[in-house]
Symmetry: C2
Subunit: 212 residues, 2 copies
Amino acid sequence: MGTAERREREKLRRRTDIVDAAENVFFSKGFENSTMDDVASEAELSKGTLYLYFKSKEELYLEIVHRATKILSGLFLEAVKNKTTGLEKTKAIGEGFIKFNKEYPNYHNAFLYHQTKQYDEKLSADLESSVFGVKRQSMEIFVDAIKSGIKDGSIRETLDPVKTAVLLWGETTGILMLIKFKGKLLRQNLNLSEEELISYFFEFTYQALKTN
Amino acid sequence: MGTAERREREKLRRRTDIVDAAENVFFSKGFENSTMDDVASEAELSKGTLYLYFKSKEELYLEIVHRATKILSGLFLEAVKNKTTGLEKTKAIGEGFIKFNKEYPNYHNAFLYHQTKQYDEKLSADLESSVFGVKRQSMEIFVDAIKSGIKDGSIRETLDPVKTAVLLWGETTGILMLIKFKGKLLRQNLNLSEEELISYFFEFTYQALKTN
DNA sequence: TCAAATAAATGACCGTTAGTCATAAAAAAG
DNA sequence: CTTTTTTATGACTAACGGTCATTTATTTGA
């Protein structure tokens, strides 16, 4: 009989519901300020039940990061479509990053926060590595764009695709973090707006990538 | 009589001792895993006393970031000395960043962690702004280097000194963070070492800055 | 030198929160 | 309908940041 399968589905469904609840709570109050009781109440469950589905508050959080990572990966794929040269693709990926920041600010915050954490080796190795798996996908899209740019002559052929992708990933994250955490100071003290900095970054990087 | 002055000195001395103790504890166990009781015991004081000198655990931490920032600023000054062209100065500042990372890893960690936090507006406005003051100094050294490079013709004249300094600051932080938090994954999954990535970053950036 | 006044230090205590576990309710199996 | 298994509960614990009434040490003024 299909009882077992149904139960499996229901279990998964409950898991998803809990993550949804956690998302609502974390996104509205911030991760640090949210309590597991908040999440339990939002999910209309008791706190104990949460721990039947997740090992810790952190694992719940990682699940959200997983969602974020999948969204970003999707944005990358979409960005690359309909672009001709590799350079254009690469630029589009950068714009995908910005779109992520603009259209999914909560997921992006979760994602940034995650990048500044190292997790317990053993504890959540599975989830962490599955997150990394999706990130790897995004990275591959990135690497492919650069490779194709080198092939079609739009990107300098002295560049190394993998290194460049990692580099741009790190740089972009750095800039977006700077904006997120110190954006106000930049505006007030240096009279530099978010948009200016981003477009300057794009221009600077574009020049460094393109063939002369 | 000089009693008041002496007491003032002693108070300051105690403050310093507490920060020293906090440093030992935070650096060895990590900020999150350290308790105020740990710090108190390291400082050979009771916990209550800590709160006579610092408003919170976070303020204690900010004090360490302040030290870190001063060190970085000093490294920048030292780096710029004896360099002739602005481009060389700029590169030397980048190397100063790396030196900070290599020679003062604990301070650098504190510094990075700080960059990913936004603090209570009111609570520690004084200290936060004094930290920002020192950072501003570093930033000025950076901006001056780029300006001089534009003047002496070693750096592309289409670049904006302030924007470029902010940009490079953000990029460098991004790369160092990537290495710190995901360095192991980069090595294992992409076979990319820390040193390779850094030198690639330098080369890439150098090309983007220099006049053709 | 000593008592009053002031400053510095203490540690028991409080409120909060992540995580646990014995118990109960619900569902499935036979 | 009874037994077994699964799922859910919420009172409880341990740990920690921060507070405050009380104690201890130091300074002041006569």
